[in-house]
Amino acid sequence: MNPFRDAIVSNPWDEASADVPEIQSVVFEECLRGIDHVRKQHRSAALLIHGAAGAGKTHLLSRLRSQLTLKAPTATDRDESLFVWVRLQASPRMIWRHVRRTLVEDWFRPVRGQRSQFERILFHRLAEIRIADGDLEPWYEYMLDTDPAALEELLERVADSLFLDRNTTIAFKHLAFGRHRRDLRAWLGGDSLPEEALARLELSQDEGTDEDREHEARRVVLMLCRLAGNDLPVILSLDQVEALQASVGDREGLFAFGQLASTLHDETSNVLIISCVQSSFATELKDKSRGADYDRMTSLGARSLATLTRSQAEKLIAARLALAGSTFVRPTSADSLWPLEPADFQRLSAVDELTPRRLIATCADRFATWIARGSTAETAPVIAPVSTTDSSNPAERVETFLDEEWKTRVERTVSLNRPELTEDIVRHGLPQLVQILAPQWGPVRDDQLPDVPLIFAGPSGRTGISICTQANMNSVTAQLKRLKTQFTPERLSRLIVLRDGRVPLSKGAKVASQALAHLADQGAEIVEHSTEVFAALDALRGLLSEAKSGDLARDGQTVTPQTVEEWLRRHLPDGLRDFVDEIVGNPKSGHVESLRVEELATLLAERPVISLIEAAESLKCAASEVERVVAHHPEIARILIGPPAVVFRAENEV
């Protein structure tokens, strides 16, 4: 076991290994003071933290999250708070939706041995008005079992006191009674839900245009913060702000971020906003943000993360070695910096190079070399150059690293992919993909096309992309109808209606089917892509976002976005290349096939297993065409070779 191998904390919800409290203690204390400030002043505030890549921004958030995690049952006589970690891998025009989804996921997130954060909000609110003495949680359990009517009445009083709207009140009650948890989570997170699910929840969902949905997300986030109340400050940590920028110099992302911070700052009273950026981005943020926004995002100041002192480096090394326990014996001559050489330390600490990441990476290499040479207690520290375990040159090592990283990420994104994420993935990832493969095509905005959020202008005109992946058929229908009027030759050369085969039009959605057919008649192209394509696009945006934020590193050295882009250009899967080809005007398959795909998906939603002949008859086409569609879209359907041949719906493996 090499105790130095894991150098990056990628998620503050994971337990940080080998935390050394002295490291970044000044900024950490500043964060705690910020929480105290919000709690006492009943006013939201913001702190901007910046540091070099690998200085430990996410590690710091992990320490903060760990510190705030309850070590005992919830109680109102203790200072408690809520934590949200938002990695801003999102389209700027979906920033509120992204925050909403993440906030809800984090508040539903199971915390080891503890209630979810939503439940803690519930307890705190009930504690304000409950009529009994004694411990809160047993009382709640008792009420739930023996007197649900009285509990419901208390919940009504809470809702009244907070001026909650009807939907929120009902959601709050479902939460309290543990009803429809999965759908409730989806509804609160902003996912489109089928009418049947909404009916079960007794909730409504008016999705409206893109702008309406963003506005709704903003309203929900503010409402949820209000629901938490002043006794439960919300620590909203905004990480990887750099990922909002589609390209270098892009201002839209900075503007959206500034607006987000300002609104949260001014329109809530219990939020501490902690924004984490790289130092190189901090200056850009200051220069290009509106002054009023920047003032708000730094209302408690901007703080730098320091590089390590020798004493801190020694403690970090000791803490890491302690992880390995007795699995090895240190050389007898080892000093407090072992496995580092004095020359290593001098080099690292020359001019502010000694970040935790670089220290750990160098130690990892030294440790591996020592193990490879046959570790014994008598073995003197290694004096050979670093990286003796890998003879390839740095460029090759980065290439290999990216190969492995891509493979791992795609596996993960495939397993996590679900149709509700398609819009987020496409709107954030596609502009970056187009920039890599077709840089002559640039994104443009057109306020006259509110249902076409992505427009690329290039040599052959303007191609618009409308994403119709809602599970709610009323929403899809409304959007398709609006698109009919928006799609005119004056505004768009081509319109691509992006559908997700996993969310087919239901058989009852006749108006939606007609609207889709009309759009196709108008010249719109109905396009579907496989789960693998969306997952690959998700992996692409994740890789680029982390590179932009300095969170992608190999051997302690940051891998730059340029390097990643270059690698992607050479290694992108065909599915993503086809996607771009469709946009720039070289579609691999026409919209006729796309319509067939849509029809087949709809048919299989109704009849999951059907003979090939019957399927062909239903779709009014030849059996060979159905076979071809199935061969191209295994994510939608598969064929059992007969006789008789049978087409069946591909189940989502997630």
Binding site: S279, S280, R303, S304, E353, T558
Partner: protein, 363 residues
Amino acid sequence: MISTLGSWQICHEIVCKQTLILSLHGWREQVRQQLQQHPCLTSASLFAVVEDSENFGPFRKFESMAKSKAVTAPSQETRDYVFQQIQQTSEPVTAGQVAKLLAPPHKLSEAKVTPILDEFVAAERLQTFPPKTAKGKPRYWDRDQNEFARSLILETLDKKGSLAKTDLRKAVKQLTEELFLNAFQGLLDAQKLFEHPPLPKKKTSLFGNRPPAPEPYLNDLGVQLSKIVGQLKGASVPDEVLRRALVQLVESTGVPFGGGAVALQNVEMPSEELKVDLIALMRSIEPAADSGALVAARELRRAAKLEKMLFDQEILGLARQGRLMLHRHDFAGGLSPAERDELVTDGAGTYYVGMALRRESAQ
């Protein structure tokens, strides 16, 4: 109302009015007693106000009417204070300038300062220097003539930029020839004065208080090189091949690529000539600097108004001393040359976007 008075002007006015009345009796002690009722005045400031009125205001007029001014010689403490002020100056000063340097309770008029200075000259604690202008007054300093000459030469170069030796001589004509030549050579030997080779199409060397900036010498070459590179690109020579050839060309002149950091770090820069306190400047740019807020290299560079290389060297020096923490730009390769120029570089491909004060430094 009177007890809330705080401004100097109002206090001064009261002194004048009260003095007008009391001067009929003529006694300053009574003025002091009267005004001590006003808590806004400390005894030191009260004394200063009275002294000030005595020297420049109506008090003097009425005092002459009273014919009873008590003349007291400045105390030894005040004399020492005067000497300390002169020690802190960077050049010789006149008696009037010394008087302005004095703060209460040691405030003295020029007339009172002059005999003290003359006493110091007699005791060889101070030296006299010729006036700056024909109508100027003699100046006093605690350092010798040679040091004065060196200081004057460097100050002149700082104001006027690099000069030919003859022009520099004219600019410091108040120095004797011998004094000038001694100081000039001394500065060259101490590497505080640098000879700049003649620029292209010029014949005369210049002298400056820092090494010459290479850009003016390389301008013509840059123009020629750009033209040739353009021609080669037009002839389809790939960028990579051009880059390699250019690097080889530069390295053949003795300027290595890659080892630049070490070379740059070892350059002896005239840091003692630096007039800019970069730490103080950081605090003025970023009020939260002491709390660790980042100051952009670009902003500090603009405020410092130093030559690029000197600025970078100073910043790197402060970082090595542990006073600053530099923040590296990981993707400087993606910046335009103009953007990169605004950053601090170690000359070896590492660029720093800004700096923050270290805690110990801030304290």
